[in-house]
Amino acid sequence: MTPEALPEAVIAEARVAPGHDGDAELVVWVRYGNGGLDSVTLDAAAAERLLARCRVQDLDGLRGQPWRQLMHVLDAAQGADIMIEGGDG
């Protein structure tokens, strides 16, 4: 199957997790077109931007949102160096 034919990656789940620095963080799991899963971690500000951009009020609402929403949120994160890496399951 060509990459173009694969379904678009979507947010599979978002979970609150403890951060190394003592703040709560949001771990967002992305399911790729080939079924692979990988995660990115957002701080509180980026998580808020994600909810706002997706126009949802809670974490459950993030399920199924296109991965591009994350890209926009991360682009807006000054100084953040969070990248999306493809995983193969």
Partner: protein, 553 residues
Amino acid sequence: MDLIIRRGRIVDGSGLPAFVGDIGIADGRIQRVGGRIEATGAREIDATGLVVAPGFIDPHTHFDVQLLWDGQARPALEHGVTTVVPGNCSLSLAPLKAEHRPRLVGMFQQIEEMPDAAFDGAFAWTWEDFGGYLDALRGKLGVNVAPLVGHSVIRLWVMGDAATERAANTEELQAMQQLLRACLAAGAVGLSTSFVDVDEKLMPVPSRYAHAEELEALAAVLGEFGRMLQVVPEFYNTDITLARVDQLAELSMRYGIPTTFSPLFDSAATPDNVPRVMARVHEQMARGARVWPQVQTRPIDISFTFDQASLLFAVLPSWYMTMRLPREQKRAALQDPAHLERLLADAEPGGDPSRWARVRVRGGVSDASLVGQTLGEIAAARGSTPARVMIELSLENDLGACFLAAKLGHDDIDRVGRLLADPMVHVGASDGGAHIQSFATYGDTGYLFDAFVRQGGHLSLEAAVKKITADPAQIWGLPDRGLLHAGYAADLTLFDPERIGRDEEVMAHDMPEGGMRYVRHGKGIDTVIVGGAVAWSAAEGYTEARTGAVVHG
């Protein structure tokens, strides 16, 4: 003999079984270990019932600034730590040109949360070069210091403002190599770098602008000295961390250097992170690379106030929406009876108060007697519920009441215990001296014995001692440290194996000009000896001994 320790249970750091005997010390060195010493010492300590171990080594601290006015690195010393490694995460206080001091202060304040007063009058900036910083420490030290030099400050020295704008050119690379060479010759035990840290404006620190070629050039200089490369990888993403493990392995093999990365911690949100990273570490170690993951012993606590929208509330939509309101609207919503009832119904479904009952008040309240109490305890006293009390306290204190949800991550004793017992795991990442206004970074060594020797049984007493003495000394190439052997430096910690642990986190105002930080005091430590002199004891507290040394790699 200057000092004889009698009848102690000697755990010598090697991992071999404990044995009972005497230890003789003279001229700052261990002279004899084991058996009965017939001679009389100028001072003698009866260690009956106590473990006598090498002093503990903490390889990941940010005591760089504090050491300038507190050469004992309080309270690390009272936890049995006799050697600290500052200068981690790409930041050290030298080499640093005078014109760059304000920029570095900003970076340090972001990481250490050190108040302005600490930089304004608590010490004099008498140095620019690395050797000058070490000279400023010498004579003041009650603890040994094995300092790293930071990649960010090396960049700043050579490139100035361009350090946070672009990659280095060939001339700048050569200048950085020269500068690193000088720092290592002056006594740095290695180089630290970071792919994660930010400054006070949340902009990347200088090391993050380096290309791979720059790190390679600096690793080549480390190879001339056989010194350590410490790295903060993108620990929030497993795949990138794996790539960094591979990168470090290549540098280690090519230049014959040890490398270490931190932090690596376990979380229920990313349960495959540790297994995947450790599998790659084992693979690379089997090839002959030296890539040591640093793992902290303590669980991760989360603190929060109602002033900010902590993600802790994201699992409760009504709460999270309320917390994200502008301040005055938030106050109004919390005082609205109908809205309050909705919040309480979500927070304590079916009247179940368990979710918030164990959360503690850690500060920011006018009634100081509440600090340290759980919301469950306060609720019981008030005839209320934990969630309602949390809201009441926040409103009573202008949303400044600060709460602590303990053990939310890296808290599965069995998973963490098995990880710590892995021979490829380096106990570290304490961050001692950092995050001082967020949480206490002290007592990880005591917690190791409490949680993973006594409670979990994942390590023997001897193995746990080795993890924080001989292992770090060997990994970091610290000569004459980490073992109780004749001729070694006389750094020793005497402790009660049934009591050693960490005390509760408390607020202290012992920073310059009364600045606040969180600390934990030691538990079960009896005596700490640095360079042959008693530096701290349960009976005397901190002593006047300043026998700490700058430990060269």
